[in-house]
C-alpha cells in the first residue's frame, strides 16, 4: 500500500514539474534564427563590451524600413547588434533588424511556357542587415516565406 502511494505521489510530483517547467528545448527558435539557418549567412551576437555602434538603433531601423519600402504598419520585432559573416564577407558589425508586416514582392520569377502562374504572395517578414559603423549603409537582407 505504501509503495502504491509513493508511486502515485511521485507521478503527481512529476506532472507538476512538467507543468511548471515545460520543455524549453522543444520550443521553436525565433523566425530570425530559422531563416538564417536556411542560408550561409551567420550572425555572431557575442559582442565585446567595448564595441561601440556609431549608428543608433533607431537610425538603423529607419534605414531598414526604407530599404525594403516597409509600410508604416510594419514593426521591428527585434533589433540586435551582431557580427555579420557569410561565405564572402566576414565579421562586419551590423544591426540585425527583424521587420514584420512588410510586403516584399518575391524576386524569383521563372519563365514557365504554357503555365499560368499566379503571382506568389509577398514576403511579409525580412531580416535586414544595417551597418552599425557607416550611417545609411545597408549590407543586405534575407527573407523567406517560412512562418
Amino acid at each position: 500500500m505504501y509503495r502504491r502511494r509513493l508511486a502515485a505521489a511521485f507521478i503527481v510530483a512529476l506532472g507538476l514539474l512538467v507543468a511548471i517547467f515545460p520543455d524549453r528545448g522543444s520550443a521553436e527558435p525565433p523566425w530570425a534564427d530559422r531563416v538564417l539557418a536556411l542560408t550561409s549567412t551567420r550572425i555572431d551576437y557575442a559582442i565585446p563590451s567595448q564595441t561601440v555602434a556609431s549608428v543608433a538603433r533607431a537610425t538603423a531601423i529607419q534605414s531598414a524600413r526604407v530599404f525594403v519600402s516597409a509600410p508604416a504598419s510594419a514593426t521591428a520585432l527585434s533589433t540586435r547588434l551582431g557580427f555579420y559573416s557569410d561565405l564572402k564577407t566576414q565579421h562586419v558589425l551590423v544591426w540585425v533588424v527583424d521587420l514584420d508586416g512588410v510586403k516584399l514582392e518575391r524576386l524569383a520569377g521563372a519563365y514557365s511556357p504554357g503555365r499560368i502562374s499566379a503571382t506568389p504572395p509577398p514576403l511579409t517578414q525580412v531580416l535586414v542587415f544595417v551597418s552599425a559603423s557607416e550611417p545609411g549603409v545597408v549590407v543586405g537582407y534575407v527573407s523567406s516565406n517560412i512562418k
Binding site: V35, A37, L38, T39, S40, T41, S63, V66, F67, V68, S69, Y84, D86, L87, K88, T89, V92, L104, E105, R106, L107, A108, G109, A110, Y111, S112, P113, R115, S117, T119, P120, L123, S131, E134, G136, V137, V138, V139, G140, Y141, V142, S143, S144, N145, I146
Partner: protein
C-alpha cells in the same frame, strides 16, 4: 566590403519617361532544356543602370526543373535593384520542392555596366551553391527536393513602370554562357527565346548560341 547608400532613384542621362505604372511580372530572355540534367550554369551579364524603377529590375541566370512550378524548383543568381536603391546588389534566390522560398541579398555593389559572372551549381547533396565573380557567396541547405533540367537567362521586372534591363541604345548582354553536364563544362550551343508577361516590353537578339542581348523596347536612354 561595400554597402549601399540609401537614395532615391536618380534620373540617368536620357531618362526613360512615361512608362506608366501597372503591376505585373515581365520576363524576357532565353532558355535551354535537356533530358540528362544540368550540374551548373554560368553567365557573364553586362548591362546598364536602369532607371526608373517602380518595383524592381533584375537580370539573372538559373537552374530549374521545368516539370515543377516555379516557386518549388528554382535556383538563381544575378543582379537586382529595387525601388529606392541607388545601386545593384548580387542576389541568390532558391526554392525547395516543399515550397520553402529563400531570397538572400548580399553585400557588394556590382557596377552593372561592367562584366560580372553569376554561377549557380547543383551539388551532389542536392543543395545549390551561388558564386559572384568566381567567389562563392551563398549556399542552400541540402535535399532541396528537385534536380535541374533547364537553364534560363532572363531579365525581369515587376511593373510596367520598371525599366526592363537594357535600352535600344544600351542593351544588356548575356555572354560566355556555359553549362555543366555530366561533369563536363560546355558552351551553351542552342537556346529558345522566352517572353512572358508584358511581351511588348523586352527585346531579344541572339548573336551567337551562347551570346544574346535584351533591352526595353520603350527606352533609348544611354
Amino acid at each position: 566590403m561595400s554597402g549601399l547608400l540609401l537614395a532615391f532613384p536618380r534620373p540617368a542621362a536620357g531618362f526613360c519617361t512615361g512608362l506608366g505604372s501597372q503591376p505585373g511580372v515581365t520576363l524576357g530572355g532565353r532558355y535551354r532544356t535537356t533530358l540528362v540534367g544540368y550540374q551548373a550554369v554560368n553567365a557573364y551579364i553586362q548591362g546598364r543602370d536602369a532607371t526608373p524603377i517602380v518595383n524592381s529590375t533584375s537580370a539573372w541566370d538559373m537552374l530549374k526543373d521545368p516539370g515543377a512550378p516555379g516557386d518549388r524548383s528554382l535556383a538563381q543568381a544575378g543582379t537586382l535593384r529595387r525601388v529606392g536603391w541607388s545601386a545593384y546588389y548580387p542576389f541568390a534566390a532558391w526554392s525547395s520542392s516543399t515550397g520553402v522560398y529563400v531570397e538572400d541579398i548580399k553585400p557588394d555593389s556590382p557596377n552593372p555596366s561592367l562584366n560580372h559572372t553569376y554561377l549557380v551549381e547543383a551539388l551532389a547533396d542536392n543543395s545549390y551553391q551561388f558564386s559572384f565573380d568566381g567567389t562563392v557567396f551563398d549556399h542552400s541547405l541540402p535535399n532541396q527536393g528537385w534536380w535541374p533540367y533547364q537553364i534560363q537567362f532572363f531579365g525581369e521586372t515587376h511593373d510596367r513602370g520598371d525599366h526592363f534591363p537594357g535600352s535600344t541604345a544600351a542593351q544588356v548582354e548575356f555572354w560566355g554562357l556555359t553549362m555543366k553536364i555530366s561533369d563536363g563544362w560546355y558552351t551553351v550551343d542552342s537556346m529558345t527565346n522566352g517572353l512572358q508577361g508584358y511581351t511588348d516590353i523586352p527585346g531579344i537578339n541572339a548573336v551567337a548560341p551562347n551570346d544574346f542581348y535584351i533591352w526595353d523596347t520603350r527606352c533609348s536612354d544611354v
